[in-house]
């Protein structure tokens, strides 16, 4: 009976030791990533992005081949995915396609399917104006902005404050142009470097998803190991506590 009890505790000790050793690497990783995720805002994990080609390749992130660019006198506006760039600088995100760009003496107007955006010549946003179902944007007589939408042809020449019907008058419609290579290469690099937030990678590392189903199973098993460690650790602590209590009682009686 005593031998059985002895071998049971030996088993518990060994279990605690080897499970602790086996799962230590994953538990350290879980602890480090967990602490990092708890401080996402302070560490700016949601704003910093991954630039490592190896990690980006691991996620299968590639720059879109298709760039849609429109030229003004001195600048280029380019859409890549949902990102819009003013020359080489990221400007804004918009889900609908960039339909055209018109420049006047006062400002630049860019058209999306459901809005117009008014910019200064240096690319500062002046105002975003909701507009329904835009099809084309162009410049008309006296530097007016002409819009072709589901409502027909309308124009504005007071900074997009008011709109009038625009019929049977000349329009130069904005049309996309091939993006110059000197602009396309840095834009594509900028695009892939701005896609993947550090937070996403740490989250995937924390859950094991970074390594697919295998990683998730490893993290799950480590979770079970942690449970066993906690239970066996408590049992060992309790055993020692009881032993020292019994020893103290025996010593007291002997006195």
């Amino acid at each position: 009976m005593k031998n059985n009890k002895h071998s049971f505790w030996r088993f518990i000790y060994k279990l605690h030791r080897y499970i602790g050793l086996t799962s230590s690497l994953v538990l350290i990783m879980l602890a480090v990533t967990g602490i990092a995720l708890n401080h996402t805002a302070e560490l700016q994990l949601d704003q910093r992005t991954i630039k490592s080609t190896a990690i980006l390749d691991w996620y299968g992130i590639k720059s879109p081949d298709k760039l849609r660019s429109f030229a003004t006198r001195n600048h280029w506006l380019t859409q890549m995915g949902q990102k819009i760039y003013f020359d080489q600088h990221f400007f804004l995100e918009n889900q609908s396609p960039l339909l055209g760009v018109v420049e006047t003496e006062q400002f630049i107007v860019i058209a999306f399917y459901n809005s117009l955006q008014l910019l200064t010549h240096s690319g500062e946003l002046i105002e975003k104006i909701p507009f329904a179902a835009i099809e084309h944007i162009g410049s008309g007589l006296q530097q007016s902005i002409v819009i072709q939408s589901s409502q027909g042809y309308t124009s504005s020449n007071d900074g997009l404050l008011s709109w009038q019907p625009y019929l049977d008058k000349p329009v130069t419609w904005s049309a996309s142009q091939a993006t110059p290579e000197i602009l396309a290469t840095p834009l594509q690099q900028n695009f892939v470097h701005s896609i993947l937030p550090v937070e996403r990678v740490i989250l995937d590392l924390h859950s094991g998803r970074l390594f697919g189903t295998f990683g998730v199973i490893i993290v799950d098993i480590s979770g079970i190991f942690l449970l066993i460690l906690a239970i066996s650790g408590c049992a060992i602590w309790l055993k020692h506590k009881l032993r020292s209590f019994r020893h103290a009682r025996r010593t007291y009686r002997q006195r």
Partner: protein, 157 residues
């Protein structure tokens, strides 16, 4: 109603027609200079990128249609101001998946007669709604912003 998304309760044009009884004035522009951009950023607790905002005004009232993000998507709100006091705040479009309770009158009525104190805070406290904290916060910021813009217009005149 847990999956309420991109719901427009009333279009801007309809609201303006209703508010101005069919006689909608031409929109006017308020330009936001650097100093006021900082104040706007303080009210909204984030940077703003726009340089001008449009509003509609007649002799009685001014109407501001503003967008502010609750959690991830903008809430479009109309604020009607008469003599530096809010007389109506109405949610025109709500795009978030939670917090839609802020569209109800029982909540928006709290903004009525509210004005700004010297710290650009609302003079009357707004009671929150549990589960709609971010939407409540967005509407409170919108109300403060509209009152601030209205005060700029009043000072210009």
């Amino acid at each position: 109603m847990s999956s309420v998304q991109a719901i427009e309760y009333q279009s801007t044009d309809d609201f303006l027609l209703q508010r101005f009884a069919g006689q909608v004035p031409q929109p006017q522009l308020l330009w936001i200079n650097k100093k006021n951009q900082q104040i706007v950023a303080d009210i909204l607790q984030h940077k703003v990128s726009f340089l001008r905002i449009r509003y509609w005004q007649n002799k009685q009232q001014s109407v501001w249609i503003l967008n502010e993000i609750g959690k991830v998507k903008p809430i479009t709100t109309a604020v009607v101001i008469i003599k530096q006091k809010i007389v109506l705040l109405k949610v025109l479009a709500f795009r978030e998946s939670r917090g839609w309770e802020v569209k109800h009158d029982f909540f928006t009525d709290q903004f009525k007669q509210n004005t700004l104190d010297s710290h650009l805070k609302l003079t009357q406290a707004i009671d929150g709604i549990s589960g709609a904290t971010l939407s409540v916060r967005a509407l409170t910021k919108t109300a403060r912003l509209a009152l601030f813009f209205d005060s700029l217009v009043a000072n210009e005149k």
